[in-house]
């Protein structure tokens, strides 16, 4: 398997705080890779560095063989990387459907500005109305994929918390990425819900042929879902390996999982 992404010597300082220090790892094409570690370890910062929200202090990010370090977020999205956020960031006043349509626009711009302002006459069908209609159908596909097709017309901020997380995933998928970054997709879910989510993510990954890179604190989900794990502590690499290896790693048990951790399903 080739690497979808190569992270090399990545570092980020915020003033005096070293959030990420000299991280190097690969994400293989078609795998589900997890990054775990205690609160404040620098996981979200890694996502922000990959997606261009922050510029790295040092190091490079290579995606599908090309250096994308320090590019603007919208440019990086165009290359095929999409993400969700730890603190849900939906377009609150837009419906679930419109949240997804906003993302679809990237690959399906249905009409130009002149057509939008001059050709959209009341009651008369035209390119704009046809375009909007076809976007709605496409958006439904993604809403249904995450199981919230029946919530299409509900305003994003009126959805229950768990469904907002799913809507964020749908919106990210609508960008048609090849690499999907999920920042704590199961946050706030109980063990049962989080295992359901694990199955959903696996399904989607296979169906859309995605590479997935995720942050999670639900260890059951992580151990079940991930092919490969990377562990950080205080911004530095602590360990890397298969879920089985990580669970047996004394340093990880001491710093994060807790002595005596045993994965329920193993």
């Amino acid at each position: 398997m080739t690497a979808a992404m190569e992270i090399k010597n990545l570092s980020k300082n915020f003033g005096g705080i070293v959030a990420v220090e000299d991280l190097t790892f690969d994400i293989k094409k078609g795998e589900i890779m997890g990054i775990i570690g205690p609160n404040g370890a620098g996981k979200t910062t890694v996502f922000n560095l990959i997606t261009g929200v922050y510029k790295p202090t040092a190091g490079t990010v290579i995606f599908e063989g090309k250096d994308i370090t320090g590019q603007a977020p919208d440019a990086i999205v165009r290359k095929g990387i999409a993400r969700t956020f730890q603190n849900i960031r939906l377009f609150k006043h837009l419906s679930a459907l419109d949240n997804v349509i906003t993302a679809l626009d990237l690959n399906y711009p249905m009409y130009n500005l002149a057509e939008a302002i001059a050709l959209n006459l009341p009651f008369i069908p035209g390119k704009v109305k046809r375009g909007e209609k076809s976007l709605q159908e496409k958006a439904m596909f993604f809403l249904e994929m995450v199981g919230i097709g029946d919530k299409a017309n509900i305003r994003a901020d009126a959805l229950p918390y768990g469904l907002q997380r799913k809507l964020e995933i749908a919106r990210a998928l609508a960008l048609e990425p090849t690499l999907l970054l999920l920042d704590e997709p199961a946050a706030g879910m109980n063990p049962e819900e989080s295992m359901d989510l694990a199955r959903l993510i696996k399904q989607i990954q296979i169906k859309l042929n995605l590479t997935v890179f995720l942050i999670e604190h639900h260890m059951d989900l992580v151990m079940e879902l991930c092919d490969h794990l990377f562990v950080v502590n205080f911004g530095r690499e602590l360990a890397e390996g298969s879920p089985a290896e990580i669970q047996a790693n004394p340093a990880v048990l001491k710093a994060y999982l807790g002595e005596g951790y045993k994965h329920a399903q193993s």
Binding site: R89, L90, I117
Partner: protein, 295 residues
Amino acid sequence: MSYYVQGVLIMAMINAISVVGLSVFTGFTGLMSLGHAAFIAIGAYTAAILTKLYGFPFVPSVVLAGIMAGMVSLVIGIPTLRAKLRSDYFTIATLGFGEAMRVLLENLPITQGARGLPGLTPYSTLPVVFIFFVLVTFVAKNFVFSRYGRMAIAVREDFVAAEMAGINLFNVRLRSLFFSAVCAGIGGAFQAHYITYIQPNMFTNVQSTLLTASVVAGGMGSLTGPIIAALVFAAIPEVLRVANMWRLVAYGGILVAIMVFRPQGIFGYKELTFKGIYRGYKHLAAKVTGQGGAK
């Protein structure tokens, strides 16, 4: 229609033309401007110079006034929006721009300094103003309810998420700023040819503030709300003409009342539609006749 009522209507619609434009900017991208009077001034001076000094026909002058204001908006918009200034810093930049424009108008030879340009022909008749008002509103509505409006809303709601949805913040913000400046320029052209004289000190930051206040009071993310607010705000000075000193007090009173009773503005994130009016009417009728409406 009496001459007086006609006058109030014309001023109200001229005001609404600028406010519709500004609501596309402030209401849909979330950035506040305290300098839009400068675009009104540019439009007013451009049109006045064209009709008075060059004998240009009126309607093309209005269009050119809008284009001129739009061009100037690019000059201020490109550096400030490219720099991704924090929204409060952007607002301060617009404030400085508004003041700078006034000083410029006071000192350019062609604008005739503080004396201004008197003796303009009163071209701003009710039909012309009305047609432009409808046109501007039509374009604004189509813009807002298109993919471009959706992108602007996304930027307003969460610019980090918008960027991660592949939206270029700079393009979205500049596009809306340009549109708002064109509208303000058109409004300015009409204002000049209604009052029939212009001076730099007519375009103060009080006017800028009032425009933004109309958008916020009318409702962010709405077009009809700000239009209604603009019409009301323009009518107030006429209604309260006898007590001129009470005008600003009345503005303040209305704004405070809106902040207290409807913090989202008259029509925050909503539009007044014929369907909505009909529904409201039915609801009211049901209440009046004592039959409970549909829940």
